[in-house]
């Protein structure tokens, strides 16, 4: 059985292909969305999902979130006295999802389709695959998120001939894909995106307002405060979409800030971010050679497209209302399950096939002869042009600059700029060559880009037939097989809270977070409830625990929704 996993910046989901259709898998708390948060409790045991998200505010030094943004980099996240790579934190989330799927299906899971933003680079994709391996999952396929959304949408639409655009604004990344569907073929015509633009950036804008209305800048160093402010900004962002206005008050060491915002002011504030949405859209339309007016539909994916501002913008951009009927939070995971079904060659999908593209240009560095003689270095020579259908393999011949040259270095770059210094360097292959007349000793450079979006570079010397493959340089961003094995052992040694106690742990974490936020009688009340519930847990009587958990949850919900007890307000 292969599962489909949407490993998101903010939330992750798992879905399976079952009984001829994609089905979402609920986690231990009964929810489809598992927050992509990992933390440790004071006993050194790992907490994943909702419980960790609650503890972000109470225990920021023991909890991590948004680590998808660092995938493929050498950045280390420190939790308590332990260091983690972003791959490892992602692996812990994947492991929790895997266990949920196993509980749902009643069979062990070893293979998965994992989604990545279409605009993820080679290093980010390799890191995602490593995360899968660390979680004990063989990654059958890395699937681009907008393509996954399109697959789910295509299943929904049936066999109609159509072309549409997927607008995928997630927690941390933005992707656009244009697709064409005919005769059961789902073809991605073009993808473009921005890896550093997502819903979290809109919340950050609101959070920053607190600093311009009374909170001193020193407060930025206070992790507990920043988490609290972030949560408040996130809530305000949602409220703005629902009610058209939002306000909150927050205090730090005696200084107070009150933030008040309506939809118009928020849109004005977010203008720089909104402007950044345009470039990928224009590029994708241009690459697909399709006019906005020719699109039959616009599909929204990613939780951030719930923002009313984004919906209005999409409507304005394309002169039509976006497609409704699919939940933007769930559509990517459903599409991953469809891909898993395709992989398992399920009968219901016999007539469906999908092709995807490489969303960026890949090339090498060359020296150019100038018009007046002389040489200029640093020019970019594309080998695979962006939005070429994958899998693809392209070869080009290059010649050494100097006749006495004994070595030729092939730099591997990703990007669209004319000069390599403005593109992303992926690595370098160096091959020895026979010195001699420059034109005889050329090299053939072959770039192969597979369906998973992973690149292989092969350089062969024409004269000798010697072949050299890409070695990613020591930028420690890449994990070797031995390192994966070592980290796998380290992760296996971590103690994880058993799935069946997760619900009660989450309740306690939420209560503790509220206790820190509340003041006065409400605080006392929550404190008493926590003490009582801990006593009940200690009794180890399952019936009693189950009954009290329900009461406890309802009581907490009542306090949270009661504006009189609204956090941070002094009675």
């Amino acid at each position: 059985m292969i599962v489909g996993i949407d490993l998101g910046t903010t939330n992750s989901l798992v879905a399976v292909w079952k009984d001829g259709g994609p089905r979402l898998v609920p986690n231990a708390l009964g929810s489809f969305l598992t927050p992509s948060c990992v933390g440790f409790d004071t006993d050194g045991r790992v907490l994943i999902g909702e419980v960790a998200r609650e503890r972000l505010q109470t225990h920021p030094h023991l909890t991590a979130a948004l680590f998808k943004r660092y995938m493929g980099s050498a950045r280390i996240v420190r939790l308590g006295d332990r260091d983690f790579r972003p791959e490892e934190l992602s692996a812990l989330v994947l492991r929790a999802l895997k266990e949920d799927a196993e509980a749902f299906l009643g069979e062990p899971i070893t293979e998965a389709v994992i989604t990545v933003p279409a605009y993820f680079s080679d290093a980010q994709r390799k890191a995602t695959r490593a995360a899968g391996e660390l979680a004990g999952l063989k990654v059958e396929r890395l699937l681009n998120e907008p393509t996954a959304a399109a697959l789910a949408y295509g299943m929904h639409e049936g066999q109609r001939e159509t072309q549409f655009l997927v607008f995928d604004l997630g927690g941390g990344t933005f992707d656009v894909s244009i697709l064409e569907m005919f005769d059961g073929v789902m073809e991605v015509r073009a993808s473009a995106g921005d890896n550093m633009l997502g819903g979290e950036d809109f919340a950050t804008l609101i959070a920053d307002l607190a600093f311009s209305t009374g909170i001193p800048d020193e407060a930025r160093a206070d992790a507990v405060f920043m988490q609290r402010l972030g949560a408040r900004a996130e809530a305000a962002k949602r409220e703005l979409s629902a009610q058209g206005k939002a306000s909150f008050e927050i205090s730090w060491q005696g200084s107070q800030a009150s933030v008040e915002l309506d939809a118009d002011a928020f849109e004005k504030l977010a203008e720089p971010l909104l402007n950044r949405l345009w470039r990928p859209i224009e590029r994708a339309l241009r690459d697909a050679r399709i006019r906005a007016a020719d699109l039959d539909n616009v599909v929204l994916a990613g939780g951030a497209t719930r923002m009313s501002m984004i919906r209005a913008l999409a409507t304005r951009m394309f002169g039509r209302f976006p497609a409704v009927g699919l939940n933007p939070d769930e559509v990517v995971a459903l599409g991953a399950a469809v891909q898993a079904g395709l992989k398992m060659k399920d009968k219901a999908l016999d007539e469906t096939v999908m092709t995807d593209v490489c969303p960026y240009t890949l090339g090498t560095e060359v020296v150019r002869a100038l018009e007046q003689g002389g040489m200029a270095e640093g020019y970019y020579a594309p080998i695979i042009e962006r939005n070429t259908v994958v899998p693809v393999s392209r070869v080009q011949r290059f010649h050494p600059v100097h006749p006495q040259q004994r070595k030729i270095a092939i730099g591997v770059y990703q990007g669209e700029s004319r000069m390599v210094r403005d593109n992303i360097r992926l690595g370098e292959v160096s091959v020895p060559i026979e010195p001699g007349p420059a034109h005889e000793g050329g090299v053939d450079v072959r770039f192969t880009y597979d369906v998973n979006g992973l690149l292989e570079v092969e350089v062969s010397v024409v004269a000798t037939g010697e072949i050299q493959r890409l070695v990613i340089e020591s930028g420690q961003a890449h994990m070797s097989d031995e390192e994966i094995a070592r980290r796998l052992a380290a992760l296996a040694a971590l103690k994880i809270h058993p799935r069946d106690t997760l619900e009660n742990r989450t309740l306690l974490a939420r209560a503790e977070r509220m206790y820190e936020q509340l003041l006065g009688t409400a605080r006392d009340h929550v404190g008493q409830m926590i003490a009582h519930f801990e006593q009940v847990l200690a009794s180890q009587d399952p019936r009693l625990i189950a009954r009290d958990a329900v009461q406890f949850r309802d009581a907490l919900k009542a306090i949270e929704s009661d504006s009189y007890f609204a956090p941070d307000r002094i009675d």
Binding site: F182, V185, E282, T361, G374, E385, P391, R418
Partner: protein, 297 residues
């Protein structure tokens, strides 16, 4: 008419239309495993892509315009609105709404009017504002604006062109290789040519001298003040036509050429040969020294 290879690969004959091409491709694609048989997939893809282009062009003559990469600035296009984006329908349906062409051209006129004065930062702000406006008006309007802007830069239809060019490189993505592909004929090639010349000029040993010459012409300062500048400027104009076109309007260039041909005889005789390079001088010195030394032996 024999069947082209791409149609026979798809099992079709020369009469096939778009519908048949898509259906044949879909059928063959389902029989191939992309992950394990990339070679067969690649061949099918190539056949399909060529075939689709072929059937789309069938019946309607297309004249692919050769990109202008020569040393002459591209000729002004008489009807820029036709060159937009290639897919622009020739006839817009009558509507009470403005067409993207009208919107784009109106915004361009306003932009050109506003950048008469002001420095780089003002121009950058104006351009950003114009682009933001266009986006809200119509998705196609920006392409019209961009096409028109390139044309005006190329033919000298606006002020502050060098500064506008710098700002547009940044904001319109003119530094982006494949961005050119989507631009109309000549536009991308012109930008590429300008950038190449700019690079060459900055690398060449007489770059600063040529730029001084150019500024002298732009200011219209009296030429006989710097004899050297006459020839340097002439060189610059012939060697870097695209780059120079950014700085000079056609009228300025014509006026300068007129002055150059009518320059006083004394200055004309002080042509480029007037300056003796350091290399012959050095050789001469070495030879004389050698003779002197030999004479002493």
């Amino acid at each position: 008419m024999t069947t082209p290879w791409f149609l026979s690969h798809l099992g079709l004959d020369a009469s096939a239309g778009e519908r048949e091409v898509k259906r044949a491709y879909a059928q063959q694609l389902k029989a191939i495993d992309q992950a394990t048989d990339p070679v067969a997939f690649d061949r099918l893809r190539q056949a399909y892509e060529v075939a689709r282009g072929f059937v789309a062009d069938n019946g309607q003559p297309t004249a692919p315009t050769a990109l202008d990469t020569g040393n002459t600035p591209p000729a002004p296009r008489s009807e820029p609105q036709q060159a937009v984006d290639g897919h622009q329908p020739p006839v817009q349906e009558a509507s009470h709404l403005d067409t993207p062409t009208t919107l784009g051209r109106r915004a361009l006129d306003r932009f050109c009017y506003r950048v008469h004065g002001g420095d780089d930062a003002d121009i950058a702000r104006e351009l950003a504002a114009s682009l933001a406006d266009l986006r809200l008006q119509h998705p196609g309007a920006k392409a019209v604006f961009e096409e028109g802007l390139i044309e005006r830069l190329a033919v000298g239809g606006m002020r502050q062109r060098a500064a506008v060019f710098r700002v547009a490189m940044d904001q319109l993505g003119w530094n982006d290789l494949s961005h050119f592909r989507g631009l109309g004929a000549g536009g991308g090639a012109w930008i590429e040519a300008v950038e190449r010349q700019r690079h060459t000029l900055s690398q060449s040993w007489d770059g600063p001298r040529l730029m001084v010459a150019l500024e002298a012409i732009v200011r219209g300062s009296p030429m006989h003040d710097h004899l050297d500048t006459w020839h340097a400027a002439n060189e610059a104009l012939s060697r870097y036509p695209q780059l120079m076109a950014l700085y000079l309007t056609p009228e300025q260039a014509a006026e300068w050429a007129r002055q150059y041909t009518r320059r006083p005889r004394a200055e004309a005789s002080a042509g480029p040969g007037h300056r003796i390079g350091w290399l012959p001088l050095a050789i001469l010195t070495v030879m004389i020294l050698g003779m002197i030394i030999r004479a002493f032996e």
